[in-house]
Every structure is written in structure tokens, then in C-alpha cells.
């Protein structure tokens, strides 16, 4: 579904990503784990078209994304839940969801999806007229995911959904991610919380200072000595 080959990204003189190649197949949960500053967010930003890439190829559903502007990528069915949630804090919960549905023209379908979202996230229904900035961190993460779901993505990129949340909430969020995946959305998950990410993923890639250093089945990687030492605390 998503194919990234030989991706190189620079920030000025800094070579942020070195020849990164990875793949996400339809229906999978794939995770990209790595330490702070390894290039995880940079990878997602280049897939979403937010930063220019130096060389390499990104293909989604057989089409190159290199010349496609960020907003058109969303229309193709590839949407991202950004790091730090980035909800529109000055808009209400409902308006945030409407922005998620910005690209859609089917009013009826959008209406149904609001119902679907409110069934999945009852807390958002209670607060739909509230200004989003007043939500708690967990609720904001749910809103960020709900907002992205409103575009009906085929592939959903999630950047650090566990960031800054209490362990119980992290569990809840990860359960929701699995549910989203079960209802037919492919997932590419970027996480520092490698334990949780590897537990729900099918496959994983390990990113270290801009290079992919290992990859494979999530369960096998979770068991491997090197990954345990580096990311799972022994």
C-alpha cells in the first residue's frame, strides 16, 4: 500500500534520513520505533508531504507522492494524526471534526460518520460544543484520532499517540488503534513506547539516527536481544 524506497531528507546541512526504505501492506499495523531524534517524525512528515524530500521515492497505492501537495495526499486516503495531537484548540470539538471532514463532499456519509465517531468516543459526544483547548490530554488525543478518521483514510499515520498520557489512557488509546485497524484502516504507528507499539503491531522497523537498522515481525523483534536492550529497558 505504502512503499518508501531510498528516502533521504535534509534539514539544511543535517542529513536527517539516510536511504530509508520500508513498506506498509494493506490491513497491517506497522510500527516505526526508535529513540528521540531518530527521525521518526521526519519520516512521517515526508510521507505526508509536509517537508521536501531530497531523494528517494514514496508510493501510495501505486502512485508517487513526490509532487503531490500535502492537502491532496489527504484526499488520496493517506491521513496523519500528528505528534502532540495538534487539535485546533480555538475551535469546538464539533468544528474540529468538521475540519477532519473538510475534503468530503458526501454530506450524508459525513453525518453517519459523526454518529459512528460519537459511538466510538462517547466522551467527545458529551463535549461536542466545548472549545477543544479545554479538553484533557487523553480527550485531545481521542479528538485528534477522531478528526483524522473523519477523512475516511485508507492509511492512517499515527505519531506518538501515547505521548504525555497516563498509562491507563495509553492502554485505552492503543485498544482504539486496534479497533480502527480491525474496521479496515491500515496503520503506520510511530512510537517511543516500543513495548506497547510492538504488542499491537504486525511488523516493525527500528530507526536509529536516520537509518533503519532492523526490521521484521513485531513479536520476533520484541524478543530480540538488541531491541530489548535498546528500547525495552533490558
Amino acid at each position: 500500500m505504502l512503499k518508501v524506497r531510498g528516502l533521504n531528507v535534509y534539514y539544511g546541512n543535517i542529513h536527517a534520513l539516510h536511504d530509508c526504505s520500508f513498506e506498509v501492506n494493506e490491513g497491517e499495523i506497522v510500527t516505526l520505533i526508535g529513540a528521540n531524534g531518530a527521525g521518526k517524525t521526519t519520516t512521517l512528515h515526508s510521507v505526508s508531504g509536509l517537508i521536501p524530500i531530497h531523494s528517494g521515492e514514496i508510493e501510495f497505492l501505486g502512485k508517487s507522492l513526490r509532487e503531490v501537495p500535502a492537502n491532496k495526499i489527504v484526499e488520496m486516503g493517506l491521513a496523519q494524526v500528528p505528534e502532540g495531537r495538534r487539535i485546533f484548540a480555538n475551535l469546538t470539538v464539533m468544528e474540529n471534526l468538521e475540519m477532519g471532514a473538510y475534503i468530503r463532499r458526501d454530506k450524508q456519509g459525513v453525518k453517519q460518520d459523526y454518529e459512528m465517531i460519537f459511538a466510538k468516543f462517547p466522551r467527545l459526544k458529551e463535549r461536542y460544543r466545548q472549545v477543544a483547548g479545554t479538553l484533557s490530554g487523553g480527550e485531545q488525543q481521542m479528538l485528534a484520532m477522531a478528526r483524522t478518521l473523519m477523512s475516511r483514510p485508507k492509511l492512517m499515520l499515527l505519531d506518538e499517540p501515547s505521548m504525555g498520557l497516563a498509562p491507563l489512557l495509553v492502554k485505552e488509546i492503543f485498544t482504539i488503534i486496534q479497533e480502527i485497524n480491525r474496521t479496515g484502516t491500515t496503520i503506520l504507528l510511530v512510537e517511543q513506547n516500543a513495548n506497547m507499539a510492538l504488542a499491537i503491531a504486525n511488523r516493525a522497523y527500528v530507526l536509529e539516527t536516520g537509518k533503519i537498522v532492523s526490521s521484521g515481525d513485531a513479536k520476533e523483534l520484541a524478543a530480540s536481544e538488541a531491541v530489548r536492550k535498546a528500547y525495552l529497558g533490558g
Binding site: S48, N71, A79, Q80, P82, R86, M99, Y102, I103
Partner: protein
């Protein structure tokens, strides 16, 4: 006759003038909200709008219908000009340091003013703006002219319209989303370029309306006519809290009233000094303005 009468009369004048400042201040605040640029050419858009109205009224005479036509033509022309300026001058500088865009804005301003001077149809000399014959409606001792009423009513209508667009339409919501977090807006599939153009168009259309109303109240048009109202509206936007739409409206009325009260009670020569004194005072006391939020710079 006495203090109270004079005060009320100046309040009426101030509210009328203030509604023009408010219309103009809205453009500053919306553009700042969305691209963090003080568009110093905004006052010159007022001038272009006034001339747009001038040509319509000069050609077809002054009737209520032609006045509305003048407003529509001026607003449409300026909305287009606003989009063209944004696309050609500001968009290429979007990732450049902010000071570059600011200097460009000053350049655009000088270009429009002097461009207008050399264009035959406008020219350097002041022209009489065709306007309604003044009819006064005395309420007690206070005189309200029908032009003041027109200015006030048209401004209020436009402000309601803008508030509706910003708060209740999809485009308005997208404008607020883009101004809050442009990158996140991209990730929603929002066509950010188009939203920015739309914002410039809205602001410029309001400036055009302000220009025609201004020229109706002070019936003279010339290429530099936008500078002083532009600066005062900028002060109004800062006073209300730059980036805040209700703030720009409040700031506009305060500026208008402060100006007329100064003219009435202190000295007409000091009116401008007081206006810019207000700017200095806000920057010292509350830089975020009356309704502005104290937001720290994002890195």
C-alpha cells in the same frame, strides 16, 4: 448647548468614523491572524476601493442603487487586487523571515500609491467624490446626518456578515484552523493557499467598503488618502488585540471616538498625536491588546 450636547455630538461623529476604522482594522487583524504579516499596503486598498466607487458614481450619478453598485464593484475589484498582491508578493516569501514580508508590504504600499499617481484615470490631484446631499436628522440638539447613518449601517451589516462567515461557514472555520495551526490544517486536507487567498480577499473587500464610506463622509479622493486611515486602523487592530476579530471592531470604535473627542475637546491638531499616543500606550501597558491573547511564540 453645553458640555453634554457637545459630548454626544462628538460621540455620534466618533461612532461613524470608528465604524470605518473597524472595517479597515478587520483586514489587518485577519491577515495577521493567518500569515502573521502586518499588511502595510492595506490602507492603499482603501484608496483603490474609494476610486472604484468614484468611477461608478461619477458615471451613473448618486442614487441609492448606484451607491450599492459602487460598493459591490469596489469590493470585487479590491478582493481581486488583494488576491493578486498575496499571490505575487507575499506567497513567495512565506518561508522567508517575517521582516522580509513586512518590508515587501511597505514596498507594495509605495508601489500602489505612486502607481495610482501615474495612472491617467486616477492621477496625483485630489478629486471631488460624488456623494449624497447631506440631510441632517436632528435628535434634540444633536445632528445626525444620513451619511453617518449609511456609514454606520453598512459597516455593521458587513461586520455581521463577516462574523457569520468566520464562525459558521466551512471556509470560516478553515480560516480559524489555518490561523491556529497551518501544518495541522494541511494534514486535514485543507487547501491552505486557497484559504489564505480567501482571507486576503475578504479583508480587501472590507477595506474597499471602508474606502467608499470614508470618501462619502469626507468627499475627496487622492492616491495618498489611505495612509492615515490605514495607520489608525492598524493602531485600532493592535489596540483590540491583533489577530482578534471582535478586538478589531472594538479597537476601531475606540479609535474613532478618541479621535473625535480629541478634536472636540482638546485640539484638532492633536487628534493624530493622540491616536498614535494610544499605540505607544498599549505597547507599553498591554501589548496583547484588549481582547488579544497572550500567546508565546511557537518555535
Amino acid at each position: 448647548m453645553g458640555f453634554l450636547h457637545e459630548f454626544l455630538q462628538q460621540m455620534v461623529n466618533g461612532i461613524s468614523l470608528g465604524s470605518i476604522y473597524a472595517l479597515l482594522a478587520l483586514g489587518y487583524t485577519m491577515v495577521y491572524g493567518i500569515v502573521k504579516l502586518i499588511n502595510f499596503a492595506h490602507g492603499d486598498i482603501l484608496m483603490l476601493g474609494a476610486f472604484g466607487g468614484f468611477f461608478v458614481l461619477a458615471a451613473y450619478g448618486v442614487t441609492p442603487l448606484t451607491f450599492i453598485l459602487a460598493l459591490l464593484v469596489g469590493m470585487l475589484v479590491c478582493a481581486t487586487v488583494g488576491i493578486v498582491i498575496e499571490k505575487t508578493c507575499y506567497k513567495p516569501l512565506r518561508s522567508a523571515p517575517r521582516i522580509n514580508a513586512l518590508i515587501t508590504a511597505i514596498g507594495v504600499s509605495i508601489f500602489i500609491e505612486n502607481g495610482a499617481r501615474v495612472v491617467k484615470a486616477i492621477g496625483p490631484n485630489p478629486k471631488q467624490f460624488p456623494t449624497f446631499k447631506t440631510v441632517n436628522f436632528p435628535i434634540g440638539d444633536i445632528n445626525i446626518s444620513q451619511i453617518q447613518i449609511i456609514v454606520f449601517v453598512v459597516s455593521i451589516l458587513l461586520m455581521f456578515l463577516l462574523t457569520y462567515i468566520v464562525n459558521y461557514t466551512k471556509l470560516g472555520k478553515a480560516m480559524r484552523a489555518v490561523s491556529f495551526d497551518r501544518q495541522a490544517a494541511y494534514l486535514m486536507g485543507i487547501n491552505v493557499d486557497w484559504i489564505i487567498s480567501f482571507t486576503f480577499a475578504l479583508g480587501s473587500a472590507l477595506a474597499a467598503a471602508a474606502g467608499i464610506l470614508f470618501a462619502s463622509a469626507y468627499p475627496q479622493v487622492e492616491p495618498y488618502m489611505g495612509i492615515i486611515p490605514g495607520l489608525k486602523a492598524f493602531v485600532a487592530a493592535v489596540l483590540g488585540g491583533i489577530g482578534s476579530i471582535p478586538g478589531a471592531m472594538v479597537g476601531g470604535f475606540i479609535m474613532g471616538i478618541a479621535e473625535t473627542l480629541t478634536k472636540g475637546f482638546i485640539s484638532s491638531q492633536l487628534a493624530d498625536a493622540i491616536a498614535f499616543g494610544i499605540l505607544i500606550l498599549i505597547l507599553v501597558v498591554k501589548p496583547s491588546g484588549i481582547l488579544g491573547k497572550n500567546v508565546s511564540e511557537k518555535v
